[in-house]
Symmetry: C2
């Protein structure tokens, strides 16, 4: 027997319609590419999103056709979020930080029909448009009079001219909530990029979860600054949750420097900001140099990579801002865990609380997780056992777009590629990437742990631990080290440095001094490239 409740599909268009009716007066403020501040309300977002919808319908796009963006965080991008998905097309947020060749490859793979881009990226589009074989319409996110006439991009139109003549009335179509709503390509370290194809349902459930007090805690009294880009897994879902709750939105545009971000937080009374550690590092430096203080900021969610303890302490002790560690993936919409405290932690000392805060956090309802050993069997949640982290839930992918790389699931669970522990209270901590962990004699050695010890040596500038094949132990760790300029340390000294700091069998078998460790575009060590550099290396005594 079915329940007798209304059958209302969870659709992204309902978010902006709700914000229009219930929070029409709440503000959306953007620092534009032009440098000035643009300010309007959800009522106007809704009106202009409907104009976008009408404009898209006139382009004769099919349902589910991909409409791409190459844009910073800003109000026009927000209108596309609602306008594109609301009409049943798929919003494809391209990452402008990729190499132009990759952008072309991804746009062609996605079969994008329309590309809307910020003027910042006009040079890229000029260079590559002829190789984007599926794009029929190029739209520059600018006023009509800001559009150069000599771009060479066929049919290029300005966004304002494109939507300008459209009606702000529009009846959003109703359809299956499992329909695709948006997509985001992962910047995989191996092989071609693969895309997560989100649905309206997954996006909406994720939006409810993001609002929860133990996740981002978003209310109509908040002013939110998503520094995390809208091309990076939908800015962690913040634009959707903000419309759902009527929170004020503050967009930084391209200005990510410490001063610009700090000024925006102060002028727009931001209560809550979200981003990656590097941006906050720049802001904290700016604040320390200029002896500045926050007036309104209460919380910041930090994800993308682990947050250094010193940053958590600085935010908390110097500025009274609560730092929440988050963990997720493109394949997870992206949120999986957030590190909010439980009742039992509240009376702990700051030092004890810090131990909790350094973990990636506990599962959000909607994401289940488990850790498994080499045999695929689930490991205990004791905070010690570590294994491959798998997740499942309604906002986790079932497969990649176009079935690339086959079925990723293992018995219905998505393998994250991370190695983690989970403690008895459900707090998960990433200890390594699966591909980096060293499997020695049936035991696992965390490459990160080995690196952290080397990094503590005063002569070491950078260290990367990799596993080398070993006839008896399967793998044994070695550490590749870049010395600080003018500093000296020998192989023997460094190996002796490990003594007492870790179990004997976790001490690396060898030290290799290198001039540099290969880094990727986002600053992460590229161990695959390091392995290529060391392809002729032989373990001592083997």
């Amino acid at each position: 027997m079915l329940g007798l409740m209304q059958n209302q599909q969870l659709l992204i268009s309902s978010l902006i319609e709700f914000a229009d009716r219930h929070h029409g007066e709440a503000e959306v403020v953007s620092r534009r590419v032009e440098g000035d501040i643009h300010r309007y309300t959800y009522k106007q977002v809704a009106q202009r999103s409907r104009k976008v919808a009408n404009a898209l319908d006139k382009l004769n796009l099919a349902f589910s056709d991909r409409v791409a963006t190459l844009a910073w965080n800003g109000y026009r991008h927000l209108e596309l979020y609602f306008g594109v998905s609301g009409t049943g097309r798929v919003l494809h947020t391209l990452n402008p930080r990729l190499h132009p060749d990759q952008i072309v490859w991804i746009a062609n793979h996605a079969e994008d029909q329309v590309l809307c881009f910020d003027m910042t990226f006009l040079p890229i589009i000029k260079a590559v448009h002829s190789r984007c074989t599926t794009i029929k319409h190029f739209i520059a996110l600018c006023d009509a009079d800001a559009l150069p006439t000599d771009t060479g991009i066929p049919g290029l139109r300005s966004y304002e001219e494109w939507i300008g003549l459209q009606s702000s009335e529009y009846a959003w179509p109703q359809f299956d909530e499992n329909s695709a709503s948006s997509m985001c390509y992962t910047s995989g370290t191996t092989g071609n990029p693969k895309a997560a194809l989100y649905s309206h349902r997954s996006t909406m459930l994720h939006a409810y979860a993001v609002a929860m007090p133990d996740v981002m805690c978003v209310s109509a009294r908040d002013s939110i600054l998503p520094v995390v880009p809208m091309f990076h897994v939908n800015a962690w879902g913040i634009p959707y949750t903000a419309a759902m709750t009527g929170a004020k939105l503050v967009f930084p545009g391209p200005a990510m420097d410490g001063k610009s971000i700090f000024d925006l937080i102060e002028s727009e009374k931001v209560t809550y900001a979200a981003g990656v550690p590097t941006v906050w590092q720049m802001m904290l430096s700016h604040m320390q140099s200029n002896n500045l203080r926050f007036s309104t900021l209460k919380r910041t969610v930090i994800g993308g990579s682990a947050c250094p303890p010193a940053m958590i302490t600085a935010f908390n002790d110097l500025y009274g801002v609560e730092v929440l560690h988050a963990w997720g993936m493109t394949e997870m919409s992206p949120l999986g865990t957030l590190c909010t405290l439980k009742n039992k932690h509240l009376e702990m000392s700051e030092e004890e609380k810090m131990k909790v805060r350094l973990k990636q956090g506990r599962g959000i309802f909607g994401v289940d997780m488990k850790i498994v050993g080499d045999d695929g069997k689930e490991l205990p949640w004791d905070g010690k056992a570590y294994g491959d982290l798998l997740v499942k839930g309604p906002w986790v992918i079932a497969e990649y777009y176009k079935g690339e790389a086959g079925s990723p699931l293992v018995d219905g669970w998505f393998p994250t590629g991370d190695v983690a522990t989970i403690d008895p209270d459900g707090y998960m901590q990433i200890t390594d990437r699966s591909k980096d962990v060293i499997k020695s004699g049936g035991e696992w050695i965390s490459s990160i742990d080995v690196e952290n010890i080397a990094m503590a040596h005063p002569a070491v500038a950078m260290a990367a631990c990799i596993g080398m094949k070993h006839p008896k132990w399967d793998e044994r760790p070695i550490i590749a080290v870049v010395k600080k300029p003018g500093a000296e340390v020998t192989r023997e000294e460094l190996i002796a440095f490990y003594e007492g700091k870790t179990a004997k069998w976790q001490i690396p078998d060898d030290v290799v001094f290198v001039d540099a460790i290969p880094l990727g575009a986002t600053g992460k060590m590229q161990k695959i490239k390091l392995r290529e550099v060391l392809r002729d290396y032989k373990l001592p005594g083997v």
Copy 2:
């Protein structure tokens, strides 16, 4: 094109499994019928819910069979919430405050197969069990040795004996999230009771919404006391949201007096409580008489009927507790609006904030609302125009169980039976019940407004305004008045009392003095019965 996300149905069983894994250590504390305090954890709730599931499976019930409860708020009731719905059966929470004849009628109408009842209600069940024609299994919520042998109820078993021998291992079945999960009958003032039949989907979406900061703001750091009964629209959904978030749950059992509730709030460090105004009135009296203060309570949600301003002020000014007005209906799972402030209100004076707090609140995402006039056309959100309030959304009913009373929807909207205004910020205020509003010359007169003026007269103990047929104006208001003992007021004096307090055409045409105004079981005025009393009444000059 569909998104490529995991197809995971929203099922109630996933709540208790999540609480088990992620919040296994969080407490559930109950004051029992026996008077003592019972204390255990979500891990144990989960284990015993699985025992309930195994026990139910052994009764050879079909999918969707109804399992009824007649019980206070307590841990065994909570286990039934998860155990019954989790197996795909329908939890039917009977209201013990109804007349036994009504309970029998409802149990037969629902075709309940099992009835689990608190020992408080043994006398009722003894009296009526033979008339409950569909119930095959009677379970008393007590220990085996607490069960009397001479009840005359065939096959009566104790809950502890019933689940005691079952395994605490159970694989919850997976099924369509639109399947019925629970049901609740409305205490309609006319005709037979009608039931809302909730689905897993509606319950789960509602649970996400309840957790949001602008709704009940529930986190793992909360200790929640639902005084609102679990037989009253699932205690406003709190048991589900608590499991979803890992909040501590505190159940009052049958002890609703001021002292018991206050003591529980203090001893269990309750941060947040929810209930109807009468319970809080008793508690505030107890606190005032004994000069008591709260140590942990921060917020209380008040619904069921409008909260008197003096109560909001007492909580806020005397005790530093934020009072949140809520509005909903059995047909709405139940939450529709909650009165949390917006950013723009924060800098207002306390007096201005109070004006907002007296309203029923603003729409939660998931419930859309509108007000319409007699012609069915939508009225503006100006805080002045009032009309019939209609709602829609995924946790609003589409129809009643067994199609009773036909299709209630009007163009997809559910008519609430309330008359309301909505202001430009989206705050809704109930001005009357639709059936009580007086329609005079194309304009509407709020019976509540007319009554409130009469009630302000020092000689008036109680006043009820009803509309009487009028040949020219359709209807005109009259006011039925009960005088205070020993007080005097004439018809002319009372009508003169209205002058300057309301528009001339809203002043009642006549005053009828009566000895008493008929009241229902919950203390609400029964205007239908008043009409019967006045059936021979004629308007003056008609």
